[in-house]
């Protein structure tokens, strides 16, 4: 690990002030310390934002505001979250381990980086880590990588479970930074790799997430389901966050997001559009899933994710429609 200077920020504005060239914010450290030890992250300065007073879950009107430094386990155990957003609680609990969830922050969860084996190994090329060096995953080990929204430069996935639920809920991220305060919707925070896979998100240097705001819970039934070969403590092969509102035999509302398939938590808007206003039948669910997955560009080793995602969409919607 490269040497660095460490400072603990007193307030969000103090954190932004301390942020300079070569600096990174340190939250729970569960991904950043891991990446520093691998040599993937090499900050000169660490600005510790984990102790900032951004650690509460509060009701704001019909919305809920989650501080950026709230620990994943506290988010999942929060009574408001459990009662209003059970899908989010389940998504958070599906990620990592009890220990990691006790350390990891909400903002850190959103900003965690891909677990692509090439990205994590500084002795091999990776366009995300070293722009222009190439993407060996496309010909090599891409078993657990993306099938949607990929580019010739990168097929990495975003590994978060929580972000998938947030994408389905339409959460908003509150950001403060050198350029002032902003609100960024999810989806919208994470970006597709395109020609610049080194950029995971639309955040600018020095931007600090201060909160995640959850809109009023959408009408209908919701669910989060994660598929993995190890029963726990494993990243998703594919996961789904789904909300379905059926009224008078017609789909009045539907939100679908997929994890493990793209560089972003993938909001399945095409599928949603197919469904809304139509009947909640198995046939309609299959048509919707296929409309979404038409865009998939699987590679030889991850082609299974397409039928997996299709099955999962159909089955999840069937369950919600019951």
């Amino acid at each position: 690990m490269k040497t660095f200077e460490y400072a603990r920020a007193e307030s969000p504005s103090d954190a932004v002030r301390r942020f300079g060239p070569g600096a990174m914010y340190l939250g729970g450290g569960t991904n950043l310390v891991d990446l520093m030890r691998l040599g993937v992250a090499q900050p000169d300065h660490l600005v510790d934002v984990s102790k900032l007073p951004l650690d509460t879950v509060e009701e704001v009107g019909d919305r809920v505001r989650v501080g950026a430094a709230v620990r994943n386990s506290d988010l999942a155990a929060d009574p408001l979250v459990r009662s209003r957003y059970p899908m989010l609680a389940r998504a958070v609990l599906s990620g990592a381990s009890g220990q990691v969830r006790n350390m990891a922050t909400v903002a850190g969860n959103l900003l965690q980086r891909t677990r692509c084996p090439y990205f994590q190994d500084v002795t091999r090329p990776c366009n995300k880590r070293e722009p222009g060096s190439g993407c060996p995953a496309i010909e090599g080990d891409h078993t657990n990588l993306a099938v949607l929204g990929t580019s010739h430069a990168c097929v990495a996935t975003h590994p978060s479970d929580m972000a998938v639920a947030l994408a389905a809920l339409g959460a908003e991220v509150h950001v403060t930074g050198p350029g002032g305060d902003r609100i960024i919707p999810i989806p919208g925070l994470h970006r597709l790799p395109g020609d610049a896979p080194e950029r995971d998100t639309v955040l600018e240097p020095g931007d600090l997430i201060t909160a995640v705001e959850l809109p009023a819970p959408p009408a209908g039934a919701s669910i989060y389901r994660k598929v993995r070969e190890r029963a726990s403590f494993a990243f998703a092969l594919v996961s789904i966050a789904a909300v379905l509102d059926v009224r008078d035999g017609v789909v009045a509302g539907c939100r679908l997001a997929l994890g493990g398939v793209a560089h972003v938590p993938w909001r399945a808007e095409r599928a949603e559009q197919v469904l809304i206003g139509g009947p909640p039948t198995g046939e309609a669910f299959l048509t919707a899933a296929e409309a979404e997955l038409e865009q998939a560009r699987p590679l030889p080793r991850n082609a299974f994710k397409v039928p997996l995602a299709r099955n999962l969409i159909v089955r999840t919607l069937e369950e919600l429609a019951q």
């Binding site: 677990r115 090439y118 080990d141 078993t143 070969e229 299974f304």
Partner: protein, 676 residues
Amino acid sequence: MNRIEGRVKVTGLATYAAEYPVEGVTYACPVQSRIAKGRIKRIDGRDALAMPGVLAVLSSEDPPRLAREAAGELALFQSRDVAYRGQFVAAAVADTYENARAAADAIVVEYEQDLHDVTLRADHPNLYQPETVNPGFPCDTVKGDVESGLDAAETSIDVIYTTPVLHNNPMEPHAALAVWDAEGRLLVYDTAQGTSSSRDLIAKTLGLPREQVRVVSRHVGGGFGSKGTTRPQAVLAALAARDVGRPVKIVLTRQQMYDVTGYRTPTIQRLRLGADAQGRLTAVEHVAYEQSSTLVEFAEQTATPARVMYATPALRTAHRLVRLDVATPSWMRAPGECPGMYALESAMDELAYAAGLDPIELRVINEPETEPDSGLPFSSRSLVACLREGARRFGWDRRDPGPALRRDGEWMIGTGVASSTYPALRQPSRARVTMREGDFLVQLAAADIGTGARTALTGIAAEALGVAPERVHVELGDSDLPDAPLAGGSMGTASWGTAIVRACEALKVNGTEGRADTTEEIKRDAELARHAFGAQFAEVRVNSVTGEVRLSRLLGVFAAGHIVNPKLARSQFIGGMTMGMGMALMEETFTDEEFGGFLRRDLAQYHVPACADVPDIEAVWLDEQDAGLNPMGSKGIGEIGIVGTAAAIGNAVYHATGHRVRDLPITPAKVLNLMF
């Protein structure tokens, strides 16, 4: 009897290799090759040496002095040639772990790269027939005529199974702490499954008389074979400590472990089986294709269980090896038997379906009178009893043999069975037992890598002496104690126990002290086929939507002679079965064809079973009276638990889905590819 070292282990006081408090300790960190084949042009350690706290840089620029006998991966920095990606090519030594690691990153290595070949194929042009396979078995055996046996068969199958690169992944990383004293004597606290053998190899590599080397491994955090032969970190610690004149500690990173601590070779196995109308085997052929490195020939004995298992007039077994630009494979729990029985027992299941026979009955019909290949009588063999007892406990009689018939919502349910076997051997050992203040001190250089050796040996000594176990104190894990073989090959308890029993007998004569060396006794052993056997029964749930496979029940029934300590034995069996479940469903290291070396070199990508994967696994045994083994009448139990598990689970997946996955592990991807 509970584990003797239980209290020190649960209170954090048990001392593992890297944990001995040593004054003035320094830290070494290795640098690994970034090419898979070629030569080192230049190594520049100047930047590293200029960093804070850095004491030395070791590399082939100034090769450290080693004995001419230094060989393979232990001949550190002696050659400019690179044999595989990840090989140690240099090391930095510094005052702290952090400084050593940063310095290692700053060492510049320039290479001249050659094209590499890291891919095992059954049609590889460089496949060859090694002289022998481990640990000295004939490479090929032929009895009868397989072709005419297959021609005469009513039913036959011809199938290919593959198993991937697997890594032992003990929880304790390989580590060493080396201390030279003023007289030039070397003490290495090592993660070693055997201190006598580790001492001998370190002494030979460094060119020291063995009296000048001491290896201590009082507690070892698992090994499963990967700590069976001395690993480079032990030699590197010794060299670095000699260089800087201070003690040196090395703890390999989890990632480094994948490269330099051995792995189970990938295998491609072709099975051809034929049976007559009654289900009697007419031919068995088992051919295994495997890899080794260019440094060392390591030829795993994959096809050898077919020489033991079933009666057949025609039996051919063969191994073909190819030397690739890869790290040397090594021992991993039940080397040979584990991957070999996966293929053989899966093939037996396929044959049972093809012949319309119950898989248990097929095995019973083909129970041999004597060992099929050698013709030797068995010292004892209770395979049929294990199958029958397992069937009774598992409720096999209620099983509908048809595939893909049972559903619980999304889940398809199936059950499968497979046999287990593992050789029951022993090796020469010494031991010393002395009276001390009314108690008995038992000493030998055995190792407890989690098997419970301390506890089992305490029980054996207490019984031999006719005293309460509380009066017996076993000291092990130190090469200064009487020489003993390593903990491996399921031979530990049998080898050490024999020596302890003989030493106790001598003490009873002598009154104060007894010493034993079992070399001569073992030479006089009658020629018998000595093996433990077992049967494993699995029930799996396969998700029809996601392809996920979850184990819901696993039962093992074993016959391994007299069980020395039931509590610990149950843990060992269950532990082996749990690892077998990992092999069946999730474990796989990915070989990087483009850059060489391995990918998924950590515990987030290489999945070993987690707590949530493991239901209430049951392990039971049938007590065997076997006078042809050793004074305890025991057969080793460390490895048989992993033998057959993967086949039982794979067979259950077939029963659940009607699809046969012949390439381990059985992941959702493979299940989905077959179903959709």
